[in-house]
Amino acid sequence: MSIENDDDTIQIFIQESLEHLANIENDFLAIEGAGVNLDKELINKVYRTAHSIKGGAGFMGLTNIKNLTHEMENILGKFRSSELTPDPGSINILLLASDTLRDLINNINTSNEVDISEHIEALSAINKASLLEEEKTPAFEMIDITFPDGKHGLTVAADEISSSWKEGKYICLLEIDLIQDVHLKGKTPQGFLDEIQECGEILGRRLDVDAVGALDQEGLPDQLPLIALFATVLQPNDINALLEINEQSIYELADDMSVKSVEQKVLEESLESATEEAMTTAKDDFIEETQEQSSILTESSFQTAGVETQQQKKSVAVESSLRVNISLLDSLMTLAGELVLCRNQLIQSISSNEHHTPEIAIQRIDLITSELQEAIMLTRMQSIGNVFNKFPRVVRNLARNLDKQVELSLEGKEVELDKTIIEAIGDPLTHLVRNAVDHGIEMPDDRRKAGKDTSGRIFLKAYHEAGQVNVAISDDGKGLDGNKLAIAAVAKGLITDDQAKMMSEKEKINLIFMPGFSTAEKVTDVSGRGVGMDVVKTNLDKLGGVVDIDSELGKGTTIRIKLPLTLAIIPCQIIVTGGERYAIPQVNLEELLRIPAGQIKDKIEIVGDAEVVRLRGDLLPLIHLADTINVERTYFDSDKQELKSDRRDSIADRRSHKSPLFDEDQPKTKDSKLEIQNPQHQARSPQDRRYHAASALHIVVVTTGAMKYGLVVDRLNDSEEIVVKPLGRHLKHCKGYAGATIMGDGRVAIILDVGNIARMAGLISLEGTDRAVKVSKETDDAAIKANKDKQSLLVFRSAENEQFAVALNLVERIEKIKKTAIEEVGGKRVMQYRGRSLPLFAIDEVAQVKPLANKEDLLVIVFTLADKEIGLLAMGPVDATEISAEVDGSTLKQPGILGSVIIGNHTTLLVDIFGFVQALNPEWFSGHKMVTTLDGEAPTVLYAEDSNFFRNQIKDFIEDVGYNVIAAEDGMIAWNLLQEHGEKVALVITDIEMPNLNGYDLTAKIRHDNRFSGLPIIAVTSMAGDEEIAKGKAVGVNEYQVKLDKEKLIGSLHHYLQSK
């Protein structure tokens, strides 16, 4: 028979078969692993898989698929009956066969033309081998099968029946009337037999000549029964539908070789007790699947039976489809309904001119939209297990080929990702896993020598983190040798020797992702990993993924991949440059930086024509978005020319430190060019803009893999969830864009591809430019030389042309007041402030400086000292700045003034608030009690500080309150002094950043020495970040204090010395 297969049927078959096959590999591997102690359930499961596919294929006339599954099924049957023990050899053949099977199913139209004889032979060879061993003496027993009414049916070989049963088939005795059932239905007997054989196997057949009647009878006989014993996967009661024969003439063969009419059996079955059902569940289980399928198939064959039969060569478009949970679909439907209701509400309310109802409707729509979006996303989610599941096989095969022993563990298979991402990460992940086996894991001998378990371990893990999916692939293999990679990269001319020398280990390892790195064959020998890693990275980049590699030589390698949950809707940071909005995907975003105009000078450094920003000790290369995508010109042409173009110039002429390194050999820096072009800008005094808010620099710090850079943009807007839309084909070559999106106002914004922008800007090195590396080194040297100590200061004025600064962390608040608010009471100036009187003073009251300017608008800087508030009268402009310049503690020192420092071309006096208060209100500080040692002497404090200014300042503070101070210029000297005066020292105060031995190391040294381990240690620092504090605490610092916060420092000193 030829079934008119409609596309749907085939689609269902393909889908179901692929679903069945999805897990077959791992099951095979598990069977292999179990060996003799086989898990019956597992084998049954695989058996059922093969069986269902075979059943379906039989219907479709897909002989190749049918034959292949048949052979597989035979072997599995033998496993099940313990006639064969699964061994790697046979499992291998089964695996290969299942691959071919999958190919056949994927290319279902051509499946019958593929040559599968190799597999068939291999499979049947296993089968035969087992037969030879165990079934040497097949009892050639014949069995007579008779109809229930006692009529003789057939005589068949018993083993054929039993083997069919073993395969889980039903055996039916059919009584087909060649005249009624075949001839009169327009079929030929041969065609009919073929038709039967497509869905089963005829074990024996016989023409019942006796029933024809007397041969001499006139005319044609009205019946010509053909008796056939038919083994099939179909349920007996489906056969009649398929073969269009009378149900009464189908009998099922029972275990005791008796036959029962199917009609009868159906009735009986429905009466069967639950217990019996339970007994047969195991069997029904797999039959059910086929049945389900076959019922669809028979139905379709029914519908089209009357239509012209046609060879099923029809092309079937294999369309991708997705299974969606019904409940999910229901919730989608509900949401859609909600949306309609909301729309109605909106329309009504607008026509009725009510004001508040649209708001409610809009709120609802907002809610429904988010829910709808979530629900739709869910329909696209698939577990990453779909990808992971193929790895056991990959690892096993590869390990076998390479004679390695590898164990693979999978974790987080249930983590779900968007379908498109699941499909796209398959290849890169496979690549990484293969690499891990091939290049990561060593040969068993080598592993033993290295003291490791002979069997290597690969660990694949997927997990959610920060709204992204992370996949980590780790191995305990030989790891990567950064130096060898660097040498290879230099040899290829990808980096220079100098660059290589300056790279950190991690940077060197990350070289593996550099395009062009791994094209040479030799690399595998030196790298341990690294074939086509750049391709892996590019593929992951395309998905918006980020890949990172960590490796320790001899210990193993871990590759981490971060993937977005979905590609369709992504959170983005919106920025503005050249008057247009652009979106930067949040995955690429590290942080946003705003450098106030006044600090540009300190933060941005120029080397050659490269700009870098110093960010927490690292140098970050800067890229100007406008330059890179060439929107500069539109600036100049636009009406607002002055503002935008000015800004650009101001960055370039930015009164930055120039690198001495490049001054000589690169005279043509950007600065000099601009000077020639725009001399008028040079005339502008830098201060004019320093307080101009608009000239602050906005930097988006982005990463793509190991590359991290700062993108300078005009303005930062909000972060938004955007829908990614593709750009038209005419814009395909614009590499800097990843797509476009529609903003809330209906206009289009372009999504930036930060990886390509870096490439366009010529940023090729992995962690910043080579220049940045050099600058980093150079400026580090400079920093050490200058003994930089960064200090946050509040800059203000008391009179025109006289600039003051005070440590920012002492400042409580700044208030703007009118001069009239100041009251003079009892010879002291006060103002009403939060219900109390705030004492006020001006700098000129104590120090010899110009008197407070006589202005209407004044500022009061409020400090808290000794639990009391005090206000310092001052005037603007006020700015917070960070300086690292050396403080001059002698030249301009006077009462109330600690010293001077140069800030923005002005000599600035550092105000000593404590000095002031002590001079004005000495009684405030009288509360502190002196602490003495047991002998009645003043305790001794060891103080390590490299900055002369601070050392003298703090030494003075402490001595003022009556303690002895031993001062050391760095950690090493302090350590030596401590050894010398060990007995006397009651407390250590240390700076953190010091040459030779820094504060952390000094603390660690002290803590590790039994003599001093109980000594209280106070760390003083200019700016204490949480990280530093944690680090300090970890090594044993008792407390952190801020330099120049004299009061707290002294308080803490008292506290520790008292408790001692």
Partner: protein, 152 residues
């Protein structure tokens, strides 16, 4: 896409939508046109080819706008209230062609299509399928697919 060459043999009447590119009267089969829009605010695409004016949002679809004037090597289209975007569908993508203004729809017989004049520039030449003579004007019939072909 209705190919004029296909209909030529049948001497069929076809409707040609005409429009001005610079001063030149051009036309294309009206069936090629998805819609004609007024100029709406576009987003400029830096680094795009010169003839791409920008992209815009057409009911949720991103449409690339091509300035026909620039593309045909005539002067760039001057933007005014008469400027229109002719949205055509090509290879599954909507693309806007910016024209100076829209003319009439003319019904012509496909047999009247004449090859483009020999002295037309080679760059422009390939963008024209032919020329129709009407009583007052010559209409250059544009080959839309050729125009939308990406440049290498």
């Amino acid at each position: 896409m209705v190919e004029i060459s296909a209909t030529q043999t049948d001497n069929q009447n076809i409707d040609i939508a005409t429009f001005y590119v610079g001063n030149a009267l051009c036309g294309m089969d009206i069936l090629n046109i998805q819609e004609i829009n007024k100029l709406i605010e576009m987003t400029k695409v830096p680094q795009a080819p010169e003839y791409v004016l920008g992209i815009l949002n057409l009911r949720g679809q991103i449409v690339t706008i091509i300035d026909l004037g620039t593309k045909l090597d005539l002067s760039g289209t001057k933007l005014s209230d008469k400027t229109r975007n002719i949205i055509v569908n090509s290879k599954g993508e909507s693309i806007g062609l910016l024209v100076e203004r829209i003319g009439d729809v003319v019904r012509v017989n496909s047999a009247q299509l004449e090859p483009p004049p020999a002295n037309i520039g080679s760059v422009q030449g390939k963008f024209f399928k032919g020329v129709f003579k009407t009583q007052n004007h010559l209409i250059g019939i544009l080959d839309v697919e050729e125009i939308l072909e990406e440049e290498q």
